[in-house]
C-alpha cells in the first residue's frame, strides 16, 4: 500500500468534524463526547483525522512540505483509530490507513522523531521497543516450569510482549497468565529469551520495514514451535499477529487469540472455574488494538466504478471497528464472583485511547499522560473503584497518570483479577 492509493479516500473528506467526536448517537452529554486525543489536546484542525487526510491529500498534489509543525502533527497521534470509526459511521472512506501511510512516507523521507529513532534502534539491536530493557527477556518465567516452545511442541504459544517481559512492574501479568493457563491444564509454552517484539508498535510509528522484519521472525518461530494458536496478553501484540500479519499475508492459518478471549473460551469449556470472590466495583477500558483496531483484516482489491458514486467493483468492505474483541473481556469480568461492573460513556468501538499508542508514550510522555488522565476522569465518573484493561501499555500509562494526579483509582489487567478468582 502507499499514500497514493488513498488519494480517492482522502479527497472524500468533507471536514464535517465527525472524526473529532464519538458517533453522534452515542453522545450522552457535554462530557466525554470527544473521540480523538490529538485534536482534543492540540485543537488545531490539523490534529484531527479530517485535518490529517486533508493535509495528505494536498501534499500528494503539491509535494511533501515538511516543517517542524507538520512533524509535530504527524507524531502526536496515538494512531488509535477513533477518527476512523467515527467517520465511517457515515462515510465510505479510509481515514487511519492514509494517516499511517503518511507516517511511513515521513520515515522513508528521513523525517523521523528523535525519541522514536531510539526506540527503533533498540528494536534492531535488542528485539524490544523498550530502550531501557535490561536482563533476559524470559527471566520473568524462572522457576515457573513453563515449556520452551522453541524446543518442545506445544498447542498454544503464549507471546508475552516487550513491556510485560521486561518491565518489572508488569511481569506480574505474565506470571498471572501462566498461572491461569496452567490451572486450565493447557499445553502451552513460551519462547522465553527467543521471543522478539511483535513489531506492531514499529508499524504504528511508520517503520514498516522493521515491522515486516519482526513479523517474519515471529512467524518463523511460530512455525518452528508447531503451535496452531498464539495467545497474546498485549493488545499491540494481538493486533500485530491477528491483523497486521494478515494484512501482509504472513499470518497463514494461525489462530490468534487475546488472553481475554482464551479465558472466556476456557470458562465456557469448563476448564477454568472462577470461584473466589473479588469484592471490587470496576469499569472496563477497551484497548484500541484489541477493540476497534483488532477487527480482522479484510483482503480486497478492486477498482472504483467510473461515475457519480464512490462505489467499487467488487464492492469494498470497510473495516469500521464493529468486529473487535468487546464481549469476551466483559463476559470474563462479569463471571468473577463479587465484581460489580459499570460501563464508561465511551466504550467498545468508540472508546477513548489510553494515550500510549503510536509511539506517543516515548515521543511525548506528557501527552500520553494527559490522554490517560482523561480516561481516569471518565472511570471516576462511573463510581468504580478500579479501571480494568487488557493491555500492559494501558495499565502502565494509567498508573503514570494516577501517580501524577493523585487519583485513588486502582488499575488492573484482566488477568490479575482472574488470577485472584481462581
Amino acid at each position: 500500500m502507499s499514500l497514493e492509493q488513498y488519494a480517492g479516500d482522502m479527497a472524500m473528506c468533507c471536514r464535517c468534524s465527525a472524526c473529532k467526536f464519538i458517533p453522534m448517537q452515542k453522545v450522552k452529554g457535554a462530557e466525554f463526547s470527544y473521540a480523538c486525543p490529538s485534536i482534543s489536546r492540540y485543537n488545531f484542525h490539523a490534529y484531527s483525522g479530517g485535518g490529517r487526510v486533508n493535509i495528505g491529500s494536498e501534499m500528494l498534489k503539491s509535494g511533501m512540505k515538511y516543517t517542524d509543525k507538520l512533524l509535530h502533527v504527524v507524531y502526536n497521534c496515538q494512531m488509535c483509530g477513533a477518527c476512523d470509526t467515527s467517520c465511517k459511521y457515515a462515510m465510505d472512506m479510509e481515514v487511519l490507513e492514509p494517516i499511517n501511510e503518511f507516517r511511513i512516507r515521513c520515515v522513508e523521507d528521513g523525517k523521523t522523531n528523535p525519541a522514536l529513532v531510539k526506540v527503533i534502534a533498540s528494536l534492531r539491536k535488542k528485539g524490544t521497543m523498550l530502550t531501557d530493557a535490561t536482563g533476559k527477556r524470559g527471566a520473568w518465567a524462572e522457576g515457573l516450569g513453563l515449556k520452551d516452545a522453541t524446543k518442545e511442541k506445544v498447542d498454544v504459544l503464549y507471546h508475552v510482549g516487550c513491556l510485560t517481559s521486561y518491565d518489572k512492574n508488569m511481569q506480574k501479568l505474565a506470571r498471572a497468565t501462566a498461572k491461569i493457563l496452567q490451572k486450565a491444564g493447557i499445553n502451552f509454552g513460551i519462547a522465553g529469551d527467543a521471543e522478539t517484539c511483535c513489531g506492531g508498535r514499529a508499524y504504528q510509528m511508520g517503520y514498516k520495514d522493521d515491522f515486516l522484519a519482526q513479523a517474519k521472525k515471529n512467524m518463523a518461530m511460530v512455525k518452528k514451535a508447531g503451535a496452531k494458536t498464539v495467545v497474546t496478553g498485549c493488545a499491540d501484540g494481538y493486533q500485530a499477529f491477528k491483523v497486521l500479519y494478515d494484512k501482509f499475508n504472513l499470518k497463514g492459518n494461525l489462530e490468534v487469540l487475546h488472553i481475554s478471549e482464551y479465558i472466556e473460551r476456557l470458562i465456557k469449556a469448563g476448564k477454568l472455574k472462577l470461584k473466589k470472590k473479588v469484592d471490587l466495583s470496576v469499569t472496563y477500558h477497551d484497548p484500541c488494538r484489541l477493540g476497534r483496531l483488532g477487527e480482522p483484516w479484510i483482503h480486497w482489491s478492486g477498482k472504483k466504478i467510473p461515475g457519480d458514486r464512490f462505489v467499487f467493483d467488487p464492492p469494498k468492505p470497510y473495516r469500521r471497528g464493529a468486529k473487535g474483541v468487546y464481549e469476551p473481556p466483559r463476559d470474563v469480568l462479569k463471571s468473577i464472583p463479587g465484581i460489580k461492573f459499570t460501563e464508561m460513556t465511551r466504550i467498545k468501538e468508540y472508546s477513548w485511547c489510553c494515550g500510549a499508542g503510536g509511539g506517543v508514550s516515548e515521543s511525548n510522555p506528557g501527552f500520553a499522560k494527559w490522554t490517560a488522565q482523561k480516561r481516569i476522569d471518565e472511570a471516576v465518573s462511573t463510581g468504580a473503584e478500579a479501571i480494568v484493561t487488557a493491555c500492559p501499555w494501558c495499565e502502565k500509562t494509567f498508573n503514570e497518570a494516577i501517580k501524577e494526579s493523585g487519583s485513588a483509582m486502582k488499575v488492573y489487567d484482566i488477568v490479575e483479577l482472574v488470577e485472584k478468582a481462581i
Binding site: 468534524s17 452529554g29 488545531f44
Partner: protein, 490 residues
C-alpha cells in the same frame, strides 16, 4: 510566504498564548485550500475582542469558523477557529433557554436537554455542527426554525465592541432576543449572503421546547449499524408516499394544521435509503428497492405522545389524514429495526453526512424558505432539470427528487434540492454549478421566489434594494473591511 510580520504575530500571540496561534503553511490545508495568514484559537470573548481590535489596528481581514464544512476564505485572511469556546454556559429549564458558546455541537446540547425533558431545533446540516447555527431542521414542526430560536446574543462587532442583544442588553438574562434591550434581529442574521453578519458571535441563547421522548434513546449494536433495543412506547415513526405531489402537499398541510407530528420531514426515497444503510452499495440497492415500493413523493413522520391517550389520538389523526390523501405507509420503515434507528437518527439528526457527502463526496444544493406550495412547484422543475445530469453520470441518481417540510404547523416551509457528485470530476462540478445558477434564476424569473443565492443586481431591486441597504449597514459596522465574509455562526 509569511503574511504577518514577527512583531504583528507577537501581538496576536500575546492575546492567546503561543500554543494557540500558528502560521505554519503546512497545517493550512487541514482547514481549506487557501493560504491563511494565521490560524488563531481564542478561548473566550475577551480574547476574541482583543484579536478583532488587533485586526482593525493592522487592517487585517479575519473569519471565524466552528466545526467546518465550507466557506469563502480569501488568501491572507486570519482564521479564528472557535474550537476552544466549547462550553454550555447555562440550561435554564424554567425559562426554557440554553446559552452556548460556538463550539458546543448540537449533539452535546441535545443530549443534555433530553435528560431534562427538553429539546431544541437542530439544523439539517447535522448534529455535528454548532448548536448556535441558524437555520432549519427536521423538527421544525415542533421547534420552528431560523431567528425564532435565537434569543439574546453576545456579539463582537467587526470593530471589536461587545454588543449584547435582547434581554442581555439590559440585564444578565438571556430569555429574550428582542428586549428589554436592543433587538438587532435584522442585523444578527448570519446565514444567507449578502446578509452574512460580520464579526463574531461568542455566545447565544437558544430557545428550548418540550421533549416527550426518552431521556436517552436505547441505542445498541455497533457503528455503523446502531439500532434501538426498543421503540419508546409513546413514539412512532412512519414514511408515507402519495400518488402525487398535490396529494402529499394536501396531507402535509392538514397534518401541520392538526399539530400532531413531532417531526414531519419531507425525505425523498433516496434520503431514506441513505439514512438506513451503512455503505454506498447498500444505499444504491435500497434506493432501487424503495423506489419500487413508494407510489410517489412522500414524507417521514414522528409522532410522540404526552400520554397514552394523546399518542392514540395523534396516531388516529395521522392515519385519517394520510388515508384521505391516499397515502401509503412504506413497509420497509414499519420494520421495527428500521423504524427505531430512523426515529433516533432523525431526532438526533445524526445521518446528514450519509445523505449528502457519502454517495459522491460532495453535494450542492438550493435551499429556500418560503411558501411551500410555490416552492414545491419550483422544485418539481428543478428536479426534472437534474435528470439529464443523472443520465450523463454527473450526479448520483436520486430520481430527480427534492425534499422539504412545513414549519410551525403552517403554510411556510423549507424546500431544498441536492445534487450529489464526485468533487474530482470537473465536468460534473461545472454541470452542477450551471444547474444551480439556472434553477435559481428560473425561480426568480418565473416568480416562485427570489433566492439571495442568485444575482444580487437582479434580485435586489425586486426586494426593495435590500442588498444596497445591507452593504451600507456592513460598511457602517465594519469601516475597515476586516470581516468580509461573516459566517459567524457556522
Amino acid at each position: 510566504m509569511a503574511f504577518l510580520s514577527k512583531e504583528v504575530y507577537k501581538e496576536f500571540e500575546d492575546v492567546v498564548g503561543e500554543e494557540n496561534i500558528c502560521d505554519d503553511p503546512a497545517i493550512m490545508p487541514a482547514y481549506y485550500k487557501t493560504e491563511f495568514a494565521a490560524v488563531i484559537l481564542p478561548g473566550n470573548t475577551a480574547e476574541v475582542q482583543a484579536l478583532v481590535k488587533l485586526c482593525n489596528k493592522h487592517k487585517l481581514k479575519f473569519r471565524p469558523i466552528c466545526t467546518g464544512w465550507s466557506g469563502m476564505f480569501p488568501k491572507g485572511i486570519i482564521l479564528f477557529d472557535l474550537r476552544r469556546m466549547n462550553h454550555i454556559i447555562e440550561i435554564n429549564e424554567k425559562n426554557m433557554y440554553a446559552v452556548v458558546e460556538p463550539y458546543v455541537i448540537s449533539s452535546e446540547l441535545q443530549a443534555e436537554l433530553m435528560k431534562r425533558g427538553l429539546n431544541f431545533c437542530i439544523k439539517g446540516a447535522g448534529t455535528n455542527c454548532s448548536a448556535m447555527l441558524r437555520g432549519h431542521g427536521h423538527m421544525d414542526q415542533t421547534t420552528s426554525g431560523d431567528d425564532r430560536n435565537h434569543l439574546a446574543i453576545e456579539w463582537v462587532t467587526p470593530e471589536g465592541d461587545i454588543v449584547r442583544s435582547g434581554a442581555l442588553g439590559s440585564s444578565d438574562d438571556w430569555f429574550c432576543g428582542d428586549g428589554p434591550g436592543p433587538s438587532l434581529r435584522a442585523i444578527l442574521t448570519s446565514a444567507v449572503p449578502p446578509g452574512v453578519t460580520p464579526g463574531v458571535f461568542t455566545k447565544a441563547s437558544v430557545k428550548l421546547y418540550h421533549w416527550p421522548g426518552p431521556a436517552r434513546f436505547p441505542v445498541v449494536g455497533h457503528s455503523p449499524k446502531y439500532v434501538l433495543s426498543e421503540i419508546p412506547a409513546n413514539m412512532m415513526a412512519r414514511y408515507y408516499s402519495f400518488p402525487s405531489v398535490e396529494k402529499m402537499w394536501q396531507a402535509e398541510l392538514k397534518l401541520g394544521e392538526a399539530e400532531v407530528c413531532y417531526e414531519l420531514m419531507g425525505f425523498n426515497a433516496a434520503m431514506v435509503a441513505a439514512n438506513i444503510t451503512t455503505c454506498n452499495e447498500e444505499d444504491e440497492a435500497m434506493f432501487n428497492r424503495l423506489n419500487k415500493e413508494v407510489q410517489g413523493p412522500g414524507f417521514f413522520v414522528i409522532i410522540a405522545g404526552n400520554s397514552a391517550e394523546d399518542f392514540a389520538w395523534k396516531k388516529k389523526v395521522l392515519q385519517k389524514i394520510v388515508a384521505d390523501a391516499d397515502g401509503k405507509s412504506l413497509k420497509t420503515v414499519e420494520n421495527p429495526e428500521i423504524e427505531g434507528i430512523l426515529m433516533c437518527q432523525c431526532t438526533r439528526i445524526s445521518a446528514s453526512i450519509r445523505e449528502t457527502f457519502r454517495p459522491g463526496g460532495a453535494f450542492n444544493s438550493i435551499p429556500i424558505m418560503g411558501q411551500r406550495d410555490l416552492t414545491i412547484k419550483w422544485a418539481i422543475g428543478a428536479g426534472e432539470a437534474k435528470k439529464p445530469l443523472i443520465k450523463k453520470g454527473y450526479i448520483v441518481d436520486d430520481g430527480g427528487a427534492f425534499f422539504g417540510w412545513g414549519v410551525e404547523q403552517g403554510h411556510l416551509g423549507k424546500t431544498e434540492i441536492f445534487c450529489k457528485f464526485d468533487p474530482r470530476n470537473e465536468e460534473a462540478k461545472k454541470a452542477v454549478e450551471k444547474w444551480q445558477q439556472e434553477q435559481t434564476r428560473r425561480a426568480f424569473t418565473e416568480r416562485y421566489f427570489a433566492s439571495t443565492m442568485g444575482p444580487q443586481n437582479e434580485i435586489g431591486p425586486a426586494l426593495s434594494n435590500y442588498h444596497i441597504w445591507w452593504s451600507k449597514l456592513v460598511k457602517a459596522l465594519d469601516p475597515n473591511g476586516v470581516s468580509p465574509e461573516g459566517g459567524s455562526l457556522v
